[in-house]
Amino acid sequence: MRVLYFAWVREAVGVDEEQVAPPAEVVTVADLVAWLSGRSEGHARAFADRSRLRAAVDQAFVPLDASVEGATEVAIFPPVTGG
Protein backbone atom coordinates (compact mmCIF):
# COMPACT_ATOMS: atom_id res chain seq x y z
CA MET A 1 0.00 0.00 0.00
CA ARG A 2 1.25 3.43 -1.02
CA VAL A 3 0.69 6.18 1.56
CA LEU A 4 0.89 9.86 0.54
CA TYR A 5 1.20 12.90 2.81
CA PHE A 6 0.45 16.55 2.02
CA ALA A 7 1.03 20.01 3.50
CA TRP A 8 2.04 20.06 7.20
CA VAL A 9 1.38 16.32 7.54
CA ARG A 10 4.03 15.75 4.89
CA GLU A 11 6.42 18.12 6.63
CA ALA A 12 5.95 16.48 10.03
CA VAL A 13 6.30 12.93 8.69
CA GLY A 14 9.36 14.00 6.71
CA VAL A 15 8.56 12.19 3.44
CA ASP A 16 5.89 12.79 0.82
CA GLU A 17 5.11 9.13 0.30
CA GLU A 18 6.06 5.67 1.49
CA GLN A 19 5.26 2.05 0.69
CA VAL A 20 3.85 0.18 3.71
CA ALA A 21 2.45 -3.29 4.49
CA PRO A 22 0.12 -2.88 7.47
CA PRO A 23 -0.91 -6.00 9.44
CA ALA A 24 -4.34 -7.57 8.98
CA GLU A 25 -5.82 -5.79 12.05
CA VAL A 26 -5.49 -2.43 10.21
CA VAL A 27 -9.00 -2.13 8.73
CA THR A 28 -9.86 1.59 8.67
CA VAL A 29 -7.98 4.80 7.89
CA ALA A 30 -7.96 5.50 11.64
CA ASP A 31 -6.34 2.10 12.26
CA LEU A 32 -3.74 2.88 9.60
CA VAL A 33 -3.00 6.29 11.17
CA ALA A 34 -2.58 4.67 14.61
CA TRP A 35 -0.29 2.02 13.18
CA LEU A 36 1.76 4.58 11.18
CA SER A 37 2.20 6.69 14.35
CA GLY A 38 4.60 4.05 15.63
CA ARG A 39 6.98 4.41 12.70
CA SER A 40 8.79 7.59 13.87
CA GLU A 41 8.54 10.64 16.10
CA GLY A 42 7.58 12.62 12.98
CA HIS A 43 4.67 10.27 12.24
CA ALA A 44 3.55 10.46 15.86
CA ARG A 45 3.64 14.28 15.78
CA ALA A 46 1.79 14.49 12.43
CA PHE A 47 -0.98 12.17 13.63
CA ALA A 48 -1.31 13.37 17.25
CA ASP A 49 -4.59 15.24 16.68
CA ARG A 50 -6.93 13.12 14.57
CA SER A 51 -9.50 15.93 14.33
CA ARG A 52 -7.05 17.83 12.11
CA LEU A 53 -6.62 14.94 9.65
CA ARG A 54 -8.49 14.16 6.44
CA ALA A 55 -7.98 11.21 4.09
CA ALA A 56 -8.51 9.86 0.61
CA VAL A 57 -8.57 6.19 -0.36
CA ASP A 58 -7.69 5.53 -3.98
CA GLN A 59 -8.06 9.28 -4.59
CA ALA A 60 -11.60 9.63 -3.19
CA PHE A 61 -12.18 11.68 0.01
CA VAL A 62 -13.38 9.41 2.85
CA PRO A 63 -14.05 9.73 6.59
CA LEU A 64 -11.41 8.29 8.92
CA ASP A 65 -13.60 5.29 9.73
CA ALA A 66 -13.62 4.21 6.06
CA SER A 67 -11.99 0.94 5.13
CA VAL A 68 -8.50 0.72 3.62
CA GLU A 69 -8.85 -2.97 2.77
CA GLY A 70 -7.76 -3.60 -0.81
CA ALA A 71 -6.65 0.01 -1.27
CA THR A 72 -3.59 0.71 -3.39
CA GLU A 73 -3.23 4.38 -2.42
CA VAL A 74 -4.13 6.14 0.85
CA ALA A 75 -3.50 9.87 1.35
CA ILE A 76 -3.46 11.64 4.72
CA PHE A 77 -3.56 15.43 4.86
CA PRO A 78 -5.01 18.52 6.62
CA PRO A 79 -8.41 20.03 5.67
CA VAL A 80 -8.08 21.46 2.15
CA THR A 81 -7.64 25.20 1.53
CA GLY A 82 -7.67 25.80 -2.22
CA GLY A 83 -9.43 28.41 -4.32
Partner: protein, 145 residues
Protein backbone atom coordinates in the same frame (compact mmCIF):
# COMPACT_ATOMS: atom_id res chain seq x y z
CA UNK B 1 -16.75 22.33 -23.71
CA UNK B 2 -15.13 21.40 -20.42
CA UNK B 3 -11.65 22.44 -19.41
CA UNK B 4 -9.84 21.60 -16.16
CA UNK B 5 -6.23 22.55 -15.65
CA UNK B 6 -3.89 22.55 -12.63
CA UNK B 7 -0.58 24.13 -13.47
CA UNK B 8 2.22 26.35 -12.20
CA UNK B 9 1.78 28.62 -15.24
CA UNK B 10 0.22 32.08 -14.80
CA UNK B 11 -3.46 32.25 -15.76
CA UNK B 12 -4.16 34.23 -18.93
CA UNK B 13 -7.67 35.69 -18.71
CA UNK B 14 -8.15 36.49 -22.39
CA UNK B 15 -7.20 32.98 -23.51
CA UNK B 16 -9.25 31.18 -20.87
CA UNK B 17 -12.38 33.29 -21.34
CA UNK B 18 -12.19 33.07 -25.14
CA UNK B 19 -12.48 29.29 -24.86
CA UNK B 20 -15.68 29.56 -22.81
CA UNK B 21 -17.14 32.36 -24.94
CA UNK B 22 -16.63 30.28 -28.07
CA UNK B 23 -19.45 27.96 -26.93
CA UNK B 24 -21.92 30.49 -28.39
CA UNK B 25 -23.97 31.00 -25.20
CA UNK B 26 -25.65 34.29 -24.30
CA UNK B 27 -23.88 34.73 -20.99
CA UNK B 28 -20.45 34.03 -19.53
CA UNK B 29 -19.71 34.42 -15.82
CA UNK B 30 -16.30 34.24 -14.23
CA UNK B 31 -14.70 34.35 -10.82
CA UNK B 32 -11.00 34.97 -10.32
CA UNK B 33 -9.27 34.48 -6.98
CA UNK B 34 -6.25 36.71 -6.57
CA UNK B 35 -3.47 36.85 -3.94
CA UNK B 36 -4.53 39.87 -1.89
CA UNK B 37 -2.17 42.80 -1.96
CA UNK B 38 -3.48 44.37 1.23
CA UNK B 39 -3.02 41.92 4.09
CA UNK B 40 0.71 41.43 4.45
CA UNK B 41 1.16 38.22 2.47
CA UNK B 42 4.46 38.30 0.59
CA UNK B 43 4.29 34.89 -1.04
CA UNK B 44 1.57 32.27 -1.43
CA UNK B 45 2.40 28.63 -2.14
CA UNK B 46 -0.16 26.13 -3.36
CA UNK B 47 0.35 22.37 -3.01
CA UNK B 48 -1.99 19.81 -4.57
CA UNK B 49 -2.58 16.06 -4.91
CA UNK B 50 -1.67 15.30 -8.53
CA UNK B 51 -4.30 13.23 -10.27
CA UNK B 52 -6.84 13.39 -7.44
CA UNK B 53 -7.11 17.18 -7.74
CA UNK B 54 -7.79 17.11 -11.47
CA UNK B 55 -10.31 14.28 -10.99
CA UNK B 56 -12.15 16.21 -8.25
CA UNK B 57 -12.31 19.36 -10.40
CA UNK B 58 -13.57 17.39 -13.38
CA UNK B 59 -16.33 15.78 -11.30
CA UNK B 60 -17.39 19.18 -9.94
CA UNK B 61 -17.39 20.77 -13.39
CA UNK B 62 -19.46 17.94 -14.85
CA UNK B 63 -21.93 18.33 -11.99
CA UNK B 64 -22.24 22.07 -12.73
CA UNK B 65 -22.76 21.44 -16.44
CA UNK B 66 -25.55 18.96 -15.77
CA UNK B 67 -27.22 21.02 -13.01
CA UNK B 68 -27.30 24.39 -14.84
CA UNK B 69 -27.34 23.26 -18.48
CA UNK B 70 -24.02 24.97 -19.17
CA UNK B 71 -22.64 25.11 -22.70
CA UNK B 72 -19.07 25.41 -21.41
CA UNK B 73 -17.16 25.50 -18.14
CA UNK B 74 -13.53 26.03 -17.33
CA UNK B 75 -11.68 25.64 -14.03
CA UNK B 76 -8.02 26.63 -13.99
CA UNK B 77 -6.07 26.50 -10.72
CA UNK B 78 -2.51 27.56 -10.29
CA UNK B 79 -0.06 25.67 -8.04
CA UNK B 80 3.44 26.55 -6.83
CA UNK B 81 4.52 30.04 -5.73
CA UNK B 82 2.50 33.22 -6.33
CA UNK B 83 3.02 36.89 -5.50
CA UNK B 84 0.38 39.42 -4.36
CA UNK B 85 -1.81 40.46 -7.29
CA UNK B 86 -1.32 37.15 -9.13
CA UNK B 87 -4.28 34.94 -10.04
CA UNK B 88 -4.75 31.71 -8.05
CA UNK B 89 -7.89 30.36 -9.66
CA UNK B 90 -10.28 31.11 -12.51
CA UNK B 91 -13.75 29.62 -12.86
CA UNK B 92 -15.72 30.50 -15.99
CA UNK B 93 -19.16 29.26 -17.11
CA UNK B 94 -21.27 29.81 -20.22
CA UNK B 95 -25.05 29.40 -20.29
CA UNK B 96 -28.02 30.58 -22.34
CA UNK B 97 -29.17 32.75 -19.39
CA UNK B 98 -27.25 34.90 -16.95
CA UNK B 99 -28.63 33.42 -13.73
CA UNK B 100 -27.48 29.92 -14.68
CA UNK B 101 -24.00 31.15 -15.58
CA UNK B 102 -23.61 33.17 -12.36
CA UNK B 103 -25.06 30.49 -10.05
CA UNK B 104 -22.89 27.77 -11.60
CA UNK B 105 -19.85 29.98 -11.20
CA UNK B 106 -20.61 30.52 -7.50
CA UNK B 107 -21.21 26.76 -7.04
CA UNK B 108 -17.87 25.88 -8.64
CA UNK B 109 -15.76 28.25 -6.56
CA UNK B 110 -17.61 27.38 -3.33
CA UNK B 111 -17.32 23.63 -3.81
CA UNK B 112 -13.77 23.75 -5.19
CA UNK B 113 -12.72 25.16 -1.81
CA UNK B 114 -13.99 22.12 0.09
CA UNK B 115 -13.87 19.31 -2.47
CA UNK B 116 -10.53 19.65 -4.25
CA UNK B 117 -7.23 18.73 -2.57
CA UNK B 118 -5.22 21.96 -2.50
CA UNK B 119 -3.28 23.41 0.45
CA UNK B 120 -2.12 27.01 0.84
CA UNK B 121 0.95 28.26 2.68
CA UNK B 122 1.51 31.97 3.28
CA UNK B 123 4.74 33.81 3.87
CA UNK B 124 4.45 37.04 5.89
CA UNK B 125 7.00 39.09 7.76
CA UNK B 126 6.32 36.81 10.74
CA UNK B 127 7.23 33.66 8.81
CA UNK B 128 5.68 30.90 6.78
CA UNK B 129 2.53 29.04 7.82
CA UNK B 130 -0.10 26.68 6.44
CA UNK B 131 -3.50 28.36 6.04
CA UNK B 132 -6.30 26.94 8.22
CA UNK B 133 -9.55 25.79 6.62
CA UNK B 134 -12.45 28.17 7.30
CA UNK B 135 -15.84 27.16 8.71
CA UNK B 136 -17.38 29.82 6.46
CA UNK B 137 -16.13 27.90 3.42
CA UNK B 138 -17.80 24.70 4.63
CA UNK B 139 -21.06 26.60 5.12
CA UNK B 140 -20.80 28.18 1.65
CA UNK B 141 -20.23 24.77 0.06
CA UNK B 142 -23.18 23.20 1.92
CA UNK B 143 -25.68 25.70 0.51
CA UNK B 144 -25.43 23.79 -2.81
CA UNK B 145 -26.35 20.38 -1.28
Amino acid sequence: MIRVRVSPEPIDMATELAGVEAAGAGGVASFTGIVRADDGVELLELEHYPGATEAALTRLTEEAIARWGLLAASVVHRVGSMLPGERIVLVATAAPHRTAALDACAFLIDRLKTDAPFWKRETRAGGRRWVDARDADDAAARRWD
